[in-house]
Amino acid sequence: MSVATTSTAAPAKASRLSVFWDSQVGKKFVSAVTGILLFVFVLGHVLGNMQSFQGAEKFNAYAHFLQTTKGLLWMTRIVMLTALVLHATAGIQLYLKARAARPQPYRVPLANPATVSSKTMIWSGLLMLAFVIFHLLDLTIGAAFVHSGFVEGDAYVNLVATFRSVGKVIFYGASVIGLGLHLSHGLYSLWQSLGFRQPLWTPTITKAALLIGAFLALAYLSIPGGVVAGLIR
């Protein structure tokens, strides 16, 4: 008896990696992994910089340590830049693809349970992207058109100067609130993108993501708060 079977053949393409990146599932995976790396950075960044509450000497010593430990410095820079580029590219491409998937909008808005954070991922993300560029010009590079009177090597003075500017504090505040919102959805949804979601852990993960997002936003806000309150001067 001859039996013809057709196998569920996967699409024949030269590179599985390019197929993976082209698929939305693959992009979300990349987004999740790079998101974890970026999260680890923003956590370390705020914890390290809260040393500004311990005074100029301690803070500048920490800044000096980071600047002079070249291996750590450049490894972090390369990994973070790569993660940021991949994360932003995946996010923007997914957003555009999703927009294209519904060219005709609903005339009556959908009654769906989307959280504010999940609906604004692209906007909180773009806000943070703009802020990161500004932040690097302001406090890492010390570009004159962003930060006049930048003192090379005195991170403490530069930090205080930045947070005495109302405009910079507003931009900073909006961005770290955006960070909190972004993380409260991102830290929850990444488990699904990685394929780990299951009923036992979902409620815990949902709450933890919200708490960590709020904690990080508050931690970041405490630094300009400290400058305004006169604890950092």
Binding site: P11, V19, K28, R102, P113, M121, F196
Partner: protein, 257 residues
């Protein structure tokens, strides 16, 4: 009961479409939503007007043919209910109901509320089956399946392919549909051999059909008349990742020596 209906009327894919208002005063609370529209259509026909086109087949909530959006809810506001099983007793005298078709690039509008959901069929054709030799009938218990796996697989298999997930999703993604199909086959021993290649093929097809991606909003699971959970999308993602990592071309000899 009296109802005011604002129904999306569109002659075809090229027509711009618009809402048309109908006063409907012959609504019984015992009617299903589609029966209510049947009565409206009968009146329109008697007046010499074009009746409203809408999708409908089994009218018992199991075929997945019907579906449109009622006041922003795919299949209407009643949970776990297709629009054919939605009864008018859930509405009130004087309600204003706005009916729109499911909107997605992959679901072209045929006419009024009727849409073309063939894209979902093409996702199934890409891998939503088991390639097995049927052979003679097997003893029922020759392949053992755990109770939990069987139940979970049946939960996924409850998907009727109505497209409400796509309609509800802000990204017009069919991930819940695709994840459901991948899960219901992949959870069982019969579907296991092709689990990973199935995920690769079906996800690929999902993307080329022009659906958006999943951003874990959860609107699909809320709208699903069969109660599919987001966890099935995680399973799709997991199988897709496993498929990507372990993919290889078919063996050259096939054991021919």
């Amino acid at each position: 009961m009296r109802l005011t209906l604002e129904i999306w009327r569109q002659k075809g894919a090229d027509d711009a479409g618009r809402f048309v208002r109908y006063e409907h005063d012959e609504v019984s609370e015992h009617m299903s939503f589609l029966e209510m529209l049947d009565v409206l259509n009968q009146k329109l026909i008697e007046k010499g007007e074009e009746p409203v086109s809408f999708d409908s087949d089994c009218r018992e909530g199991i075929c997945g043919m019907c579906g449109f959006v009622v006041n922003g809810y795919p299949h209407g506001p009643q949970p776990l209910t297709t629009v054919c099983q939605l009864h008018m007793r859930f509405f009130h005298d004087g309600d204003v109901l706005r009916l729109e078709p499911f909107r997605a690039k992959a679901f072209p509008i045929i006419r009024d509320l009727a849409i073309d959901r063939s894209a979902l069929d093409r996702i199934i054709m890409a891998g939503g089956y088991n390639s097995i030799n049927a052979g003679g009938p097997r003893d029922a218990n020759s392949i053992l399946v755990g109770k939990k796996e069987a139940d979970l697989s049946m939960d996924a298999a409850a998907c009727i392919g109505c497209g409400a997930c796509v309609a509800a999703c802000p990204n017009a993604s069919a991930s819940l549909f695709t994840g459901g199909k991948i899960s219901h086959l992949g959870l069982l021993p019969q579907g296991e051999p092709e689990r990973k290649t199935r995920a690769l093929s079906m996800v690929e097809r999902h993307n080329t059909e022009g659906f958006g991606g999943c951003t874990v909003i959860g609107a699909c699971a809320e709208a699903c008349p069969k109660g599919l959970k987001l966890d099935f999308i995680a399973r799709m993602n997991k199988d897709y990742l496993a498929g990507t990592v372990t993919y290889r071309e078919g063996a050259a000899g096939g054991g021919s020596g």
